[in-house]
Amino acid sequence: MAPITTVHYLVVAAALFILGVIGVLTRRNVVIVLMSIELILNAVNLNLVAFSRLYGVQGQVFSIFVITDAAAEAAVGLGILIAFFRNKETVNVDEVDLMKW
């Protein structure tokens, strides 16, 4: 088999990214949409780390920032989800049709 190069990692990252995009665009459940976003962020991280093999450690530093961002996003997203669920008893994105309640 051919040695594993950066391109291989990029392909995996692209696959994860596409899966994440499909999840975000097609699923109704907010929780799964949030998880798909995590998938996308992971794909990005994998790209960053793969490139850090070529260009130095900055990629890894950026991936740490992305993980921080993911934590913040998950916290706020799930907070919104709870607030939403409390009011509408549902977690489906297409039922989020009010700007305020």
Binding site: I82, F85, R86, E89
Partner: protein, 384 residues
């Protein structure tokens, strides 16, 4: 099995707390098979997260119809049955029943019998409180006191066994006095026990009284005010811990209690910690009573003159004593025959259990456990 919500439907449960997910109230069945309900008590808890919004006690899993049985037994035959109600304080049950029948017969037990009764009843109070302490501590998570208290309770049970052959359901007293004279060496045994126990009580207190976690778990938990206690008919250490100085041994002395010098320990805060302290003090006071009784025990007969066949006059009588758990009362209606027309027992546990809902509302699940423990209920007595 009935749907638990049907029980709750008639309950006026508090408004859910808006700080948590109020759409997610949990209804939990605690018991009848649960390690911390002291038998077969079933408590339906309505929870908001960990917070208790309301409780409903479902009792009757141990109902044996003791009161109904009484209507088909003679007065003497019914005597052993009462031991099976509060089986950790059988002597007190027997004492209350015998005194009630004596009262309706209008006879007096002789002084020596009364002294023996006091000694045994106080020993029984110690045993009951020890069992309470062990299980209560176990509920709150301290395993070790259980074994210490059981070790010391064993000494009391040994005395009972030597006296009347039974350890738990003693059937120690008869209508009109005591059946057995004290055995040889009874006084020595009791005196040895009196020297043996105080350091042990100190040991329990060492383990718990100043233990930070114990104090945090019990202080301010399960608060009940004196007024609420009186309104609900709560008696015993629970009432006294809320600051009401009410003890039937002082208020309406029975047996030989008027002869002794002792104090009624009371608490101020009415929380679980105060109830713990009050019971610990009561154990010391019991020792004090036993010591006085054993020093001054008079000679004489142990049985009053009562007819072979007990046929009380027509009438009704209520007599209550201070059992370890509170006021234990017997209401006897006699139709002049050899069998009681009706006997109604006022069990302290049953009445005290009413306070559970009031005490735990707005507190946490863990506090329900602590409060059930601190109420010191015995399901045999609650369900009868």
């Amino acid at each position: 099995m009935t749907d638990p919500t049907t029980y709750l439907s008639h309950l006026e449960l508090g408004q859910p707390d808006k700080t948590f997910l109020d759409s997610n109230e949990l209804i939990i069945n605690m018991g009848p098979q649960h390690p911390a309900t002291h038998g077969v008590l079933r408590v339906i808890l309505k929870l908001d997260g960990e917070k208790v919004l309301g409780t409903e006690c479902v009792i009757g899993y141990l109902h044996r119809g003791v009161e109904k049985i009484a209507e088909h037994r003679t007065y003497t035959m019914f005597n052993p049955y009462v031991d099976r109600m509060d089986y950790v304080a059988a002597v007190s049950n027997g004492l209350g029943y015998c005194e009630a029948v004596e009262k309706i017969l209008n006879v007096q037990a002789p002084p020596r019998a009364n002294y023996i009764r006091v000694i045994l009843a106080e020993l029984n109070r110690l045993a009951s409180h020890m069992l309470w302490l062990g299980t209560h501590a176990l509920d709150i998570g301290a395993m070790t006191p259980l074994f210490y208290t059981f070790r010391d309770r064993e000494e009391i049970l040994k005395i009972f066994e030597k006296y009347c052959g039974a350890r738990l359901t003693t059937h120690a007293f008869r209508i009109g006095g005591c059946q057995y004279e004290t055995y040889e060496g009874f006084e020595d045994d009791v005196k040895k026990f009196l020297d043996f126990v105080p350091p042990k009580i100190d040991e329990y207190e060492e383990l718990l009284t100043t233990n930070r976690i114990w104090v945090e778990r019990t202080k301010g938990v399960g608060y009940i005010s004196g007024e609420d206690c009186i309104a609900l008919g709560v008696t015993g250490p629970v009432l006294r811990a809320s600051g009401v100085k009410w003890d039937l041994r002082k208020a309406q002395p029975y047996a030989a209690y008027s002869d002794f010098d002792f104090e009624i320990p009371i608490g101020q805060n009415g929380d679980t910690y105060d109830r713990y302290i009050v019971r610990m003090q009561e154990m010391r006071q019991s020792l004090r009573i036993i010591r006085q009784a054993i020093d001054r025990i008079p000679e004489g007969p142990i049985m009053a003159k009562i007819p072979k066949v007990i046929k009380p006059p027509v009438g009704e009588i209520y007599h209550s004593i201070e059992a370890p758990k509170g006021e234990l009362g017997y209401f006897i209606v006699s139709d002049g025959s050899t069998q009681p027309y009706r006997i109604r027992v006022r069990p302290p546990s049953f009445v005290n259990l009413q306070a559970l809902d009031l005490m735990v509302r707005g507190q946490l699940v863990a506090d329900v456990i602590a409060v059930i423990g601190t109420l010191d209920i015995v399901l045999g007595e609650v369900d009868r």
